[in-house]
């Protein structure tokens, strides 16, 4: 049936493509090794979100017996369903990493139902018990690393004015902004963090404008939460400001201006996942962790970071790594409109579901969520 279709096409067209197809069709298509598919929403060398995942994929390529196939710039439409199916049907992939947040529902869920024997791992932490068991969703508490960046930024700023270029006022972004601002206030209780929302994940022109506007207002240390921090990092460095990175290490872009950064540690997590599958263990459908679980990490300090800043940041990092953990969002927390958002005496630990609904900016942040 299927072949009949092809050969009819073959006869009808009789074109060059077909002749070539027949001539080269004998090549070995499916290897005996395990094939893992990675799908990115942007380009994999964006110095950002997608590059972080591509670095994780690169770590898998080093493991013998694994074959990694990658596809970039796949939109969050049924195109990603077709890419997943294509990786399964044409490349023989058995484990898939559709890495963008918007791939999950309905696209990856649909594919996980269609291919119940294959594994799907999504970045975003969206799994709920209604979803298929072969679909997993992992995410990292990167606000821990942003908190460390905030401490370093607080010490490094001369004006006490920090800047944050953010995509959208959604809980994950607000949590990063608040963690950064709270970290900065540990170092300098008077520090303010001015935030500008660009409205979308990849808006290079607006990101550049926001960076310039923040610097014009006296901000001298910047960080961001957008898909590609490259624009902010390069522009800020050019204007003489210092930066904290996000997603991956951007110090090659601005070696002198780079202080530290909040990075994903997918190169540690993905090999762990593959080993768990190979050993027959099941990966929890809802997999999360922070610095301690090696899902996020901080960039090495740049030369501009003072010894005092390093010491304070390292002390707090040690608390995150310790058995007791460390709560960033502690009771007696007031938002920037003066409203108490966490009552005194309540500590909200990292896994507290209340933090997933964050809709405020803490005291010390200049800006509004809407």
């Amino acid at each position: 049936m299927e072949f009949g279709r092809i050969s009819r096409r073959h006869l009808l067209q009789g074109g060059a493509a077909l002749t070539l197809g027949a001539a080269t069709g004998a090549r070995p298509s499916f290897a005996a090794e395990t094939t893992i598919g990675f799908i990115y929403v942007g380009s994999r060398d964006d110095y950002g979100y997608n590059q972080a995942h591509a670095q994780g994929a690169a770590a898998l390529k080093k493991i013998p017996g694994l074959k990694v196939v990658e596809e970039e710039k796949v939109p969050e439409t049924d195109a990603v369903e077709k890419t997943i199916e294509s990786m399964i049907n044409l490349d023989g992939a058995t484990l898939l990493f559709p890495t963008s947040f918007g791939y999950y529902n309905p696209h990856m869920v649909k594919m996980a139902k269609k291919f119940p024997k294959l594994h799907f791992e999504h970045c975003g932490g969206l799994w709920s018990d209604k979803d298929p068991k072969n679909a997993g969703s992992y995410f990292g508490y990167i606000d821990e690393a942003q908190y460390i960046s905030g401490i370093v930024a607080g010490y490094s700023s001369k004006s006490g004015k920090l800047g944050f270029v953010a995509a959208k006022p959604i809980p994950q972004v607000l949590r990063n902004i608040n963690a950064f601002a709270l970290g900065a206030r540990l170092a300098n209780p008077k520090a303010t963090t001015q935030v500008i929302f660009t409205g979308d994940w990849s808006m290079p022109v607006k990101e550049a404008e926001a960076t310039n506007s923040l610097i014009d207002q006296g901000v001298d240390v910047l960080t961001c939460h957008v898909d590609g921090p490259k624009t902010m990092v390069e522009n800020a460095a050019r204007r003489g400001a210092m930066v904290c990175g996000y997603h991956v290490n951007q110090s090659p872009l601005a070696p002198k201006a780079y202080l530290t950064g909040a990075e994903w540690n997918w190169e540690a997590l993905y090999p762990k996942f593959v080993k768990m599958i190979a050993a027959g263990e099941s990966i929890p459908n809802f997999y999360r962790g922070g610095l301690k679980e090696e899902i996020v990490k901080t960039s090495p300090y740049g030369e501009a970071v003072s010894a005092e800043a390093r010491k304070h940041a390292d002390d707090v990092k040690a608390k995150f790594l310790s058995g007791d953990g460390y709560a960033i969002f502690k009771g007696g927390l007031v938002d920037n409109k003066g409203k108490t958002v966490i009552a005194a005496g309540t500590d909200r630990g990292q896994k507290d579901p209340e933090l997933e609904k964050m809709d405020y900016l803490v005291e010390g942040v200049v800006g509004a969520t809407s």
Partner: protein, 370 residues
């Protein structure tokens, strides 16, 4: 074709075949319409092969994987047709006004507004029988998209605003309206990190054409393209539109209501793109969010121009471009080409097909008397 009716070359091409009774002479015009774009396509593929060879990849591999990824298996065919479906509808948004000599490039905006209208209709009618909800979504999608492009038509007719610019700018307004509603009034409170409307409900979804993975959007597209062809070439209304497109003054002198023609054609054009948006909601996403702005409206412009604004020719051209995008993933995975290489190919095809316009009526053996 009618957009360039003033072009003397066109006139020669259409007048000449009556001169002789031979087969080539009688069908020269029709053969031209297949032969010239065909040669242009082969030429473009040849140039792309050279381009790829410059990166050290084998052009033979390239052609094989393009064929394999787009048409080589039954899965590849479904992949191609799924991607072609929205393009047929958005291409009509440019092709229909082109009959009147208008260049509308705002199909993306009509798609977004159509999606938003269809979602609103479905959410308002929750609890009604699925068939009623689906019919309401189709009507709402068409009206929403139709009114959006009609706005450009009205601005041109009554205010002298260039319709190309206004339709393009309306895309950004549509996107802003969509984001505003999705992040505000229409937001599902549960969509924390991916602002979206509520879901329209699984029962109200359109599903796939039986026996395939291709959604019903393809059937909507085919019906719309055929209906548009009949409307333009086999009705009085279509004839009037083409007369107005050829010479607007002459049309007014013979008493045609040009305002009505422009508004109606723009409404139908926008309706087609709105229908594409409705299909994206009702057959793919199940709700409205920023994922809908995937660029189908912009690729539709390319399809319409490649098809020389002929509604029937849009179908094979959309399938061709659907195939190119379907095979793009395989080119990334097997040949390690960046995603942008597919855009390069699209660009080369566009240039070749536009340049080949100059050949119409100039190929000796297809002319009546040479």
């Amino acid at each position: 074709m009618t957009t360039e009716a003033a072009d003397p070359v066109e006139a020669v091409g259409t007048v000449a075949p009556a001169a002789d009774a031979g087969f080539l002479q009688r069908h020269g015009g029709a053969i031209e319409y297949v032969l010239i774009p065909g040669v242009a396509l082969v030429g473009a593929l040849g140039v792309f092969g050279i381009f790829v060879a410059m990166f050290g990849k084998s052009p033979l591999d390239l052609y094989f994987y393009m064929y394999y990824g787009a048409f080589g298996t039954w899965f590849s065919w479904q992949n191609t047709l799924t991607r072609a479906a929205p393009l047929i509808l958005t291409a009509l948004c440019t092709a229909l006004p082109a009959q009147l000599g208008m260049v509308i490039i705002g199909g993306e905006g009509a798609l977004l507004i159509g999606a938003l209208s269809a979602t609103s209709a479905a959410l308002l009618l929750q609890g009604m029988p699925p068939l009623i909800v689906q019919i309401a979504m189709v009507i709402a999608g068409v009206i929403g998209g139709g009114l959006w492009v009609m706005l450009s038509g009205a601005l041109r007719q009554y205010r002298g605003v260039n319709e190309t610019i206004s339709s393009l700018l309306l895309v950004y307004i549509a996107l802003a309206v969509l984001n505003h509603l999705v992040e505000g009034a229409m937001r599902d409170p549960a969509s924390l990190n991916k602002p979206s409307t509520r879901e329209i409900g699984a029962a109200n979804m359109f599903g796939s054409i039986p026996g395939t993975d291709v959604h019903w959007g393809l059937v909507f597209g085919l019906i719309a393209a055929i209906a548009a062809y009949i409307l333009i070439y086999h009705t009085v209304f279509g004839f009037a539109a083409r007369v107005a497109g050829g010479n607007i003054r002459a049309a007014k002198i013979v008493g045609l209501n040009v305002s009505k023609l422009i508004l109606t054609v723009c409404f139908l054009a926008g309706g087609a793109a709105g229908l594409a948006g409705m299909v994206e909601v009702a057959a793919v996403q199940g709700r409205t969010n920023a994922n809908l702005a995937a660029g189908y409206g912009f690729t539709g412009i390319l399809v319409a121009f490649l098809a020389r604004h002929n509604p029937l020719a849009i179908i094979p051209v959309a399938i061709l471009l659907g195939g190119i995008s379907a095979s793009g993933g395989l080119l990334q995975r097997r040949l390690g080409l960046p995603d942008a290489s597919v855009l390069v190919l699209q660009g080369i095809i566009f240039v070749f097909v536009l340049a080949s316009d100059a050949l119409y009526g100039r190929i000796g053996f297809l002319k009546g008397k040479s």
